[in-house]
């Protein structure tokens, strides 16, 4: 690891000011950032910890919206997001206990790993990503593997999830990392069904719109039985071929619907 400075501000304003320094980077749970620093793949001049900012931590439910602070660990979401059970269940199955106690939703969404779980929940829920300067709709936020709408020095302060009538996340684990080899989040709202897929595509998390249309008319696993998933943009690696991932998208969508 290279040397760096470390600050732990107690307000968003101070954090944003600290992040103005060249090569300063926000640090949340550190579950992604610290390993890359240990490997000397990342050399921030300054780490700005977000964990000292009280308003970024916690889950609140108001009306039909669940709001999660940007620096809320997965374990807290798992325990406190009971107003959105499918989201709590997703959080409870990320990584191992250490990862869940340290890793945060803001870190996960900022990183936008193509195999991460939260991006599927945010996109399928039509969530709103709240930053220090604006609100970004999930549909506009995810812009491909490890790429988001966030600007330099902008931080996620919270995520607003509209609570669906029914939802389920099916995670098929990659056997080594136990990230999602493919994961499908299905959320049923009064105005339609949204289906988001993680782990499968070379373009990162995406919505499977054909399935959404079919399921919005008939919310049953049968509704998608006639659909096919195009394998041409799917990831192919040691753990699964593109065709296999395309199959998983369909199988897991069916299982998620059945489990709703």
């Amino acid at each position: 690891m290279y040397n760096f400075e470390f600050v732990k501000p107690s307000s968003v304003e101070e954090a944003i000011a600290a992040l103005k320094e060249e090569d300063a980077q926000p640090l949340s749970g550190g579950q992604t950032l610290i390993p890359t620093m240990k490997q000397r793949l990342n050399q921030p001049s300054k780490l700005v910890s977000l964990l000292g900012i009280a308003e970024l931590n916690g889950v609140s439910a108001e009306g039909s919206t669940v709001t999660i602070g940007g620096a809320t660990p997965h374990a807290v979401v798992a325990a406190d997001a009971s107003a959105y059970p499918a989201l709590a269940a997703l959080a409870s199955n990320i990584g191992d206990p250490a990862v869940r106690n340290r890793g945060t939703i803001g870190g996960s969404l900022a990183n936008n790993d193509p195999a991460a779980c939260y991006p599927a929940a945010a996109l399928a829920s039509g969530a709103t990503i709240v930053t220090n300067s604006r609100e970004i709709a999930a549909d506009d936020y995810f812009q491909g593997m490890f790429t988001t709408a966030l600007d330099e020095g902008e931080i996620i302060t919270g995520v607003k999830f509209p609570v669906p009538e029914a939802a389920n996340y099916q995670k098929f684990e990659q056997p080594a990392s136990r990230f999602a080899l493919t994961g499908v989040f299905v959320a049923k709202y009064a105005d339609g069904v949204r289906v988001a897929v993680t782990g499968a595509s070379n373009d990162g998390v995406f919505r499977w719109t054909e399935a959404e249309e079919a399921l919005s008319g008939n919310f049953s696993a049968d509704a998608i039985s006639g659909l096919t998933v195009d394998a041409s943009d799917m990831i192919s690696d040691l753990h699964g071929t593109a065709e296999y991932r395309a199959n998983l998208v369909k199988v897991l969508t069916g299982r998620a619907v059945a489990a709703c």
Partner: protein, 788 residues
């Protein structure tokens, strides 16, 4: 009866220190004035190495000295401990294995330079300032491509990438081919035995130290065999005589074969400490371990079995490409030959066998022995092929095996591949396993699974292995450059306690518990009176270490021989004390008695007399009570068994769940049943890892794709089923004093074919005609096979 003698499931005494964090591992050793080394390793697989410029790095903070290949010009290469002779009678091609890349880079992870600094971070900083000038060459990764005409050569000074082309038994080849022509049925199967990375929990560590006052060197290292490292490193690499070199392997956190070998980092730390006159320490990171620990397996084989019209095996032949990696690791050439070819008879009477092995150099990490070493590869081929054969013939796979078993009355049984099995009863373990696995209830369970949308399958595999390695005169003829005896010194103290100094090394096997159980049984004292010392060349007799399930069979036998000498001498002393004749003395429950009288003298009185020899036959025997024995086994031992596995396959995703696992083993006599059971659990866990999860993969450029736990899947507790272990079928070894055979590798040998057979059974029973899937049976591979 002594407390905790042979047969007691004594809890492992070493676990108290391991489980309370008091183990003393190599990384716990920190010496005064210690420096740290960071190795700059190649990030390309094949390149001409033009120059290594260390000038600016040398001036960086904390740097003490930077070493490159130039510093090792006067030093030998890492020796190979086994020379295989090819089918034409020529010695294998044996390239130099330098400490650091000389002129050429041959695999990702090869050492290019070493920075020794005050701290590890300073060493790493400086390593980034080293400028390496190289020209990349096309990498040789695929073994068959490596053997093609015009393939780029890994070693320019060799004639090709072929290390050897071995035929066994070459004289039988024509007869084998003829039997295939006459066969009523031939089954052919091509398969891959996947490359593995051992991943012991403790990564490798080396600390070199030098004492100017007596010009002696000490190496602390994570080794399974410190004496072997002392001999190889002292005599062949650094030119340090044994009396000036001490090698210590303290607590070692798992070896699985990969800590047998002599590695460049060990020689480096010893060498650098002497040059700098300060201790030098290296602790491997997990990332380094993936690209510098010797890998395991990596065979590509084609096997064929010929049968007559009555389904008797008449002949067998196999062709294997065995990956050596870029250099020959210490025992690499022996694994696909003398630990693989000689096991191709398995548990069967097949009268004619021919084995061909082509060992190939590639631009990958060297490959060497890994738990089972050669025997898993042999067993996997055989047991997969027999299963396929049974399906082709429409016969019960258990019965096809049973029909071809060597029968209990045929022992000792000389196979057509050079070895003689002393004992065994394959029918007994098969029957036992079928019973324990409730095979008769399978159909009902399969119907239940189907209701839940799952495909259920059952797989059987038998195995035989050769362990208790090995008779020195035999292995000498086969090309070993070492003897394979073992040693022990039994030192009895004045007050009767005993210290056994053994050449075996425990790195998870529990010797500190089992070895005392044997002594306790022989003398009739509590096992707590016996202490085991191992792992330090300064205080143990020359021994060959622990691998190949040899510790109890060979090391334990040496200890028994030494203890017998002790007891014989003690009887002389007892006879003197009781004024009786030596022939009438008996030792039982720690008491010497004179048969036919009520005279007795306690063990402790005799041992005291040996060290306070006031009333003592000094004219006949020396004072003291300490004896050493070296034991060279007369034959290998041949554990065997039957493994049964039941799985469910999810048709939608191809995911396999291992539901249960049954292991019925014949290990001969068993000293500590609990430890034996644990060894089988661990072995089966590793076998399931190989069969379902572990996959060490390179891309075409020689980059390691599975270089961390993000992509290399180790088995975790939740991947494993409950394992039923039985070792009640015992045919004791006939040629060692304990009648023991060895249990360390069996689980890893028998389990992969049982699991793969079970998955294929599940598929074929349910309308998916699939002949074979290569390990690991990842969900993607299983689904793809079902949907071809």
């Amino acid at each position: 009866m002594p407390k905790d003698g042979i047969g007691a499931s004594t809890k492992r005494r070493e676990d108290i220190r391991f489980l309370t964090g008091k183990g003393r591992y190599t990384d716990d050793i920190n010496l005064n004035g210690q420096l740290y080394v960071h190795f700059l390793r190649a990030d390309v697989a094949h390149a001409t190495l033009n120059a290594v410029d260390t000038a600016s790095a040398q001036d960086m903070q904390g740097v003490v000295r930077i070493f490159t290949a130039k510093d090792f010009e006067a030093v030998g290469g890492l020796p190979c401990g086994w020379q295989v002779t090819d089918k034409h009678g020529n010695p294998m091609q044996e390239p130099k294995h330098p400490i650091m890349a000389e002129g050429k880079i041959r695999h990702v992870g090869e050492i290019i330079a070493a920075v020794v600094a005050d701290s590890l971070e300073e060493a790493r900083d400086a390593a980034e300032a080293i400028v390496v000038d190289y020209d990349e060459l096309p990498a040789v990764i695929d073994m068959k491509a490596a053997c093609a005409d015009g393939a780029p050569k890994v070693h320019d000074d060799l004639t090709s990438n072929l290390c050897y082309d071995w035929g066994f038994v070459e004289e039988n080849k024509a007869a084998v081919d003829e039997a295939f022509e006459k066969a009523a049925h031939v089954t052919t199967l091509e398969l891959v035995n996947n490359r593995l990375v051992a991943n012991p929990m403790e990564p490798r560590v080396a600390v070199g130290d030098y004492a100017p006052h007596d010009d002696s060197s000490t190496l602390y290292t994570t080794s399974q065999n410190p004496h072997v490292i002392r001999l190889l490193m002292g005599a062949f690499v650094l030119g340090i005589p044994e009396h000036k070199l001490r090698v210590v392997a303290p607590d070692v956190g798992g070896g699985f074969g990969t800590k047998i070998f002599h590695y460049a980092e060990e020689a480096f730390c010893t060498f650098a400490a002497k040059q700098i006159k300060r201790p030098v320490k290296w602790t491997s990171s997990r990332s380094e371990a993936f690209m510098s620990d010797a890998h395991g397996r990596d065979h590509v084989s084609k096997i064929q079995i010929a049968l007559d019209a009555d389904n008797n095996f008449t002949a067998l032949r196999t062709d294997t490409y065995a990956n050596m990696g870029a250099y020959l690791s210490t025992f690499a050439p022996s694994v696909p030959t003398w630990l693989h070819g000689v096991l191709m008879a398995g548990n069967y009477r097949t009268p004619l066998i021919y084995v061909n092995v082509k060992a190939v150099f590639t631009n990958t990490v060297p490959v060497d022995a890994y738990r089972g070493a050669g025997r898993p590869e042999a067993t996997y081929q055989l047991e997969r092929c027999i299963d396929k054969c049974a399906r082709e013939l429409g016969v019960d796979p258990a019965e096809l095996r049973r029909q071809n078993f060597i029968t209990p009355d045929q022992f000792p049984y000389a196979t057509p591949v050079a070895v003689e099995y002393d004992t065994g009863n394959y029918h007994a373990t098969l029957d036992k396993a079928l019973e324990l696995a409730d095979v008769t209830g399978f159909d009902a369970r399969a119907a239940e699974s189907k209701k839940n949308g799952k495909l259920r399958g059952l797989g059987i595999a038998n195995y035989i292995e050769a362990c208790g390695i090995a008779p020195s005169n035999l292995v000498g003829q086969l090309g070993a450059r070492a003897g394979l005896y073992e040693s022990a010194t039994v030192r009895v103290n004045a007050t009767g306690g005993i210290v056994v100094m053994t050449g075996s090394h425990s790195h998870g096997q529990g010797h500190e518990t089992t070895f005392p159980q044997v002594i306790a049984d022989m003398i009739g004292i509590d096992a707590s009176q016996v202490e085991i010392v191992h792992g330090d060349t300064a205080n143990t007799p020359m021994g060959m270490g622990t691998y190949g399930s040899r510790s109890l069979a060979v090391g334990g036998s040496a200890m028994v021989r030494a203890a017998e000498k002790v007891i014989n001498k003690a009887k002389k002393i007892a006879a003197h004390l009781m004024e009786a004749s030596e022939g009438d003395i008996e030792l039982k429950d720690g008491q010497f008695t004179v048969s036919g009288t009520d005279k007795s003298v306690a063990w402790g009185d005799v041992t005291l007399a040996a060290y306070v020899p006031h009333n003592y036959p000094l004219d006949q025997i020396e004072p003291g009570l300490e004896e050493t024995a070296f034991y060279d086994p007369a034959n290998f031992t041949y554990p065997s068994g039957t493994y049964i596995c039941e799985v469910e396959v999810d048709e939608g995703t191809g995911k396999v769940e291992v539901l249960n696992f049954t292991a019925a083993d014949d290990f001969g006599n068993v000293v500590n049943p609990m430890i034996v059971e644990g060894q089988v659990h661990g072995g089966v866990g590793q076998g399931i890892g190989q069969a379902m999860l572990e996959n060490c993969a390179y891309d075409a450029d020689g980059q390691l794709l599975s270089a961390s736990y993000m992509d290399y899947a180790m088995p975790r507790a939740s991947d494993l089923p409950m394992i039923t272990v039985d070792h009640s079928c015992q045919t004791p070894c006939t040629h060692n004093p304990l009648g023991v055979k060895g249990c360390g590798e069996a689980g890893a040998i028998g389990s992969p074919p049982a699991l793969v057979n079970a998955v294929l059974d599940a598929l074929n029973r349910n309308g998916h005609a699939v002949d074979h899937i290569d390990m690991p049976l990842s969900p993607s591979r299983v689904w793809t096979a079902m949907n071809q």
